[in-house]
Symmetry: C2
Subunit: 386 residues, 2 copies
């Protein structure tokens, strides 16, 4: 599994620049050697945006980028003008090392907000030097490792079609919006695609994958998903085929994010069916996914469907509270707003948990991926800063 270097035309590296006190790798570089340099990206919808996000929005505006540099060990967010200058200097350093313009370098950072002092800057710039020297056509796994923060596993995915490939890497334990674990994703392809095609495909894919992972309802200031195409395969896939491969890579990475969420003991799939609109289905699923009482109940293996209904009731979705069905792991515990099968027939001990909500008013559906609220979540987010 070569992740971002599975597609032809890409090199990558992951190095240790000393940003992390743990001494683990912390700077990654992904380079598109072309012939094309097409790019598309989506960013956090948080209005408090980190300096790298502000910078990178500008970089991808013209549809061209040659490299993505990523660091863990500091978010460089709310770090003042000095922080923005650091981001700019990082792009320039990559540009100098590769002989490209700084304006073609996407920058991503992840770590603690407020971290971005001279030590941080020195570390990132040292990382750029080391990574530029370490670039290789099989550097994908190293890059995937260097962007990890509280992740326990590097996350990569590859789909290979007839003569072309889509591959990617991800870090984080949240969602595109929200997810304060800062989700960073780089996806590469050697398919021939215009920037507009990339943009359209990326938005369509993220809308139903990363945007539907809602681990803890918190929205990061640094979330970034970048898609680069080198065109090195010389193949222009059918639009539907490219969309399918890209969505598969995004869905696989999204699932990996959910499965590695901080402190979680259950991966909860919330499937909302028979909604009046897809928006309604997403709204209902997200409301349940963000309900701490429901999430704590799942941690306790308690099929507390009342908390599901109470969460649905906070939304403006089209439904009748007394006509809703709720099933948990295949057992319909609530029918038409009243108790159905006994709760003690539900087995919630497996990590994979399935909640099905039938609103009974329409034909639309959506699925949200979330996690339970556990002691380990509280511990990981209270015992030390992140």
């Amino acid at each position: 599994m070569q992740g971002v270097t599975a597609a032809a035309g890409f090199r990558a590296a992951g190095v240790t620049a000393g940003l992390k006190t743990s001494g683990k790798p912390d700077v990654a570089l992904v380079v598109n050697d072309g012939p094309d340099a097409a790019v598309a990206a989506v960013f956090t919808s948080n209005r408090a945006q980190a300096h790298p996000v502000i910078w990178s929005r500008q970089v991808v505006g013209d549809g061209a980028a040659r490299a993505v540099v990523l660091n863990s060990g500091g978010a460089n967010c709310f770090t003042g003008p000095f922080g923005f200058q650091t981001t700019h200097m990082t792009a320039e350093a990559v540009g100098d090392a590769l002989g490209i313009g700084a304006g073609d370098v996407v920058v991503c950072s992840t770590g603690l907000i407020g971290v971005g002092d001279q030590t941080f800057r020195d570390g990132v710039l040292r990382g750029v030097d080391l990574a530029s020297a370490a670039l290789s056509a099989d550097g994908g796994p190293d890059a995937a490792t260097a962007i990890m923060t509280t992740d326990t596993k590097a996350k990569q995915s590859v789909v290979t079609e007839d003569g072309w490939t889509v591959g990617g890497m991800a870090k984080g334990a949240g969602m595109l919006a929200p997810g304060l674990a800062t989700m960073l994703v780089v996806i590469t392809t050697d398919a021939v695609q215009t920037p507009d095609q990339l943009d359209q495909a990326l938005r369509a894919a993220t809308r139903i994958t990363f945007d539907r992972v809602d681990s803890d309802g918190c929205m990061s200031t640094n979330d970034t998903v970048v898609l680069l195409s080198s065109g090195a395969s010389g193949v222009t896939p059918e639009v539907g085929d490219f969309q399918e491969a890209l969505t598969a890579v995004c869905a696989d990475l999204a699932r990996q994010l959910q499965q590695d969420a901080e402190g979680a003991s259950h991966d909860i799939t919330i499937e909302v069916v028979h909604a009046a609109t897809e928006d309604d289905a997403v709204t209902v699923g997200r409301s349940v996914a963000r309900n701490n009482l429901f999430k704590a109940a799942v941690f306790g293996n308690d099929p507390n469907w009342g908390r599901v209904l109470a969460a649905i009731g906070t939304t403006d979705a089209d439904f009748d509270p007394y006509a809703v069905d709720v099933s948990m792991n295949g057992v319909r515990v609530c029918h038409a707003g009243a108790p159905d099968q006994p709760s003690d027939t539900v087995d919630l001990t497996p990590r994979d948990t399935h909640v099905r909500i039938d609103l009974g008013v329409g034909t639309h559906a959506a699925t949200i991926l979330t996690n339970d609220l556990t002691h380990d979540y509280v511990h990981e987010n209270s015992a030390y800063s992140s």
Copy 2:
């Protein structure tokens, strides 16, 4: 402290009907002996409303009510037509016992959603019999005890003015909307007030008290605040004086709810100042209050202001993320969107925690009360159903 029996013209009781396996008191009755029978009430804004809420909305519609019966040990929500019939029968039983119409009896229930079977019905009706026989002019404390669920303390408050009194009781550890701990509040007064005056005063008071407690962001299906006036003092207070006394009782009870929130180790006051509108200030405060990462950080005594800014960034409030100041317990840790005083100079060990957010764009302010996210919260909401 006589709570709901501090004002003249009221009797109350709290009895043990066997609804709780713990054998603790579980049914309360508050009776207004007049001469007036004016009432106003506010209910949960959750669209999934328990049977007692649906019933009681109708009861207070004409501005008159003679009694409030409340049970813990079962929410009687999502219990089907049988459950609604139980609520109706409960009101009729109270009406029969007191010689009043069932349509003048407000019903409140709290406990597990989905609980409302024959055993529950039998228990509540037995409780009505017992409570009717136990009514007394100093029964306020017993009533306040009988409505407790996970509360560790009975909650009462009284303000006595020149010849008239406002008193009340509350249970729960949440907020009017939201707060899945089900907040039930009964407030009584012997001041002479029309139903319209009561309604106006109650809405004005709850808007800035109960509505601004947001312990865990979860909205109950049963929340109810009822205000009854007997007129027994014969005194008609100045409008401002009555409002002040009522708001003081509501604020006191709201603070008691916060201080008894499930599993909390910090009572967090989030003060948002210099907002463009009061709505903006409330939105910002609530967003921070609902951010699990911020709440977990406070549990860990970590002044993680980055999580505060990230939470503000998810709102549509008028602000510039790079012009915000954040202070924690008096120390300004973030100025103009950059680090200010060192975080390690903030002492977050006291239970009382103060976060001040200066948006710097206007003249409006609001304060939200919340709690931290703790191991005990996860334990209490996962280890057993509630």
